[in-house]
């Protein structure tokens, strides 16, 4: 599975405890915790496999590899998909 950013031109505000993100395509404002924000940020540079996205998120959060619970990562990713900020697709290279 690969993840890719779906929102374009997001406007970010880092308020220390939370991130505020304005999504021009939907005119919605989102408030994210650090984990969700870092997932979204790491995808802004290009599509990543789920595993790589999780690793980069862990690196951005400053935690050890594998320390971010898989359930927490999956939940945050699902929320981002529901909000139209992230899309997922089957990883073709893996399928082949």
């Amino acid at each position: 599975m690969i993840l890719m950013a779906a929102g374009r031109g997001l406007i970010w505000q880092d308020w220390g405890d939370v991130y505020l993100v304005y999504q021009p395509s939907s005119a919605e404002t989102h408030v994210f915790n650090e984990t969700t924000a870092q997932i979204l940020k790491c995808l802004e540079h290009g599509s990543l496999s789920t595993a790589t996205a999780k690793e980069r998120t862990e690196a951005a959060l400053g935690v050890d590899l594998g320390e971010l619970a898989a359930d927490d990562f999956a939940f945050a990713t699902m929320r981002l998909e529901e909000l139209g900020l992230v899309e997922s697709a089957d990883d073709v290279s893996t399928a082949q």
């Binding site: 406007i11 308020w15 021009p24 005119a27 404002t29 408030v31």
Partner: protein
């Protein structure tokens, strides 16, 4: 020239004719009415409000009039109209004045999208403004009324009008509608407050309108910079608490209390984030104005020390 420069008869004749143009802060509106009882209340309560230049363009053309046709003779009613449209069901004629005041609020909330419209009371002192964003029933009008009779200037009891160009708050010092128990609370707190007649059994209970102090009306073209965001909640018998609030929580509460956040898109996002960054944010729980007002005075005074 003010409304009070017209005598009661002249005011009534103009209302029933081409209407009277009134200036409320950044808005001019032309008001028409063929209801005598309304004209009496309006002449009394609008007395110090300015009349704009005769050439000024009016933002809203509103009326509070008897219905047309047979209904005019069946029941004594009052219909609020704006630009020839009648968006609400008729009111009993005795409630014409509060109906007009609600109607003007509705015009501002639904049409003034050149400004960010926060659902908030706002007062100013020493060039710094407090915004009180709150839903109805949290005591913001009562608190606001008490403050403007204790040395603060009224910007608005209902709208935080934010100018997108600079984030300043534009005053719209209209009458303050008090509801139910709040009326007697203010009568006791400031017996000198000018309070109009009580309108009983309206759609919002008993309503009476407080006329803001003259200084607030005279300085209606003087914007103010927001300095504090205070989220008030009146709780019967509760001890006073004034506690810092996180900016993220304040942002959510301001944005969700705005009338047109969605309409202004990115502009609203930037205005609200800038405002929350520039303000100290607090939650206020109070039950006694004699405790709440000194606490807010102290907050303001601490800036000057």
């Amino acid at each position: 020239m003010n409304v009070g420069d017209l005598n009661r008869r002249e005011f009534g004749e103009q209302l029933a004719g081409d209407g009277v143009a009134l200036q409320f802060g950044p808005f001019n509106l032309r008001l028409r009415s063929d209801l005598d009882s309304f004209a009496a209340h309006a002449h009394q309560l609008y007395e110090p409000y300015p009349l704009p230049e005769t050439t000024a363009i009016c933002d809203f053309h509103v009326q509070i009039c008897a219905p047309r046709g047979l209904r005019r003779w069946l029941r004594r009613q009052a219909c609020f109209g704006v630009d020839g449209q009648f968006p609400f069901a008729p009111y009993t004629v005795e409630h014409a004045f509060p109906a007009l005041e609600w109607g003007i609020n509705w015009c501002v909330a639904t049409r003034a999208h050149h400004l960010l419209l926060l659902h908030s009371a706002a007062v100013e002192r020493n060039g710094r403004a407090i915004l009180f964003p709150a839903s109805p029933g949290n005591g913001k009008s009562t608190l606001c009324t008490a403050l403007v009779h204790s040395g603060w200037r009224l910007l608005s009891d209902e709208f935080g009008l934010v100018r997108p160009e600079d984030g300043l708050l534009l005053p719209i010092p209209r009458l303050i509608p008090l509801k139910n128990e709040s009326i007697d609370v203010i009568r006791r707190f400031r017996p000198e407050a000018i309070i109009g007649p009580s309108f009983l059994a309206t759609r919002k209970g008993t309503v009476a309108h407080v006329r803001p102090p003259l200084d607030s009306i005279r300085r209606a073209q003087e914007p103010a910079r927001p300095r504090w965001l205070i989220f008030p909640r009146w709780v019967s018998g509760a001890p006073l608490t004034l506690e810092p609030m996180s900016r993220s929580q304040a942002f959510l509460m301001v944005a969700t209390n705005a009338f047109n956040y969605d309409v202004l898109d990115e502009t609203a996002f930037r205005l609200v984030t800038d405002m929350v960054h520039a303000c100290d944010c607090y939650s206020l729980v109070y039950s006694d104005l004699n405790e709440a007002i000194p606490a807010l005075d102290e907050l303001c005074n601490s800036m000057d020390r």
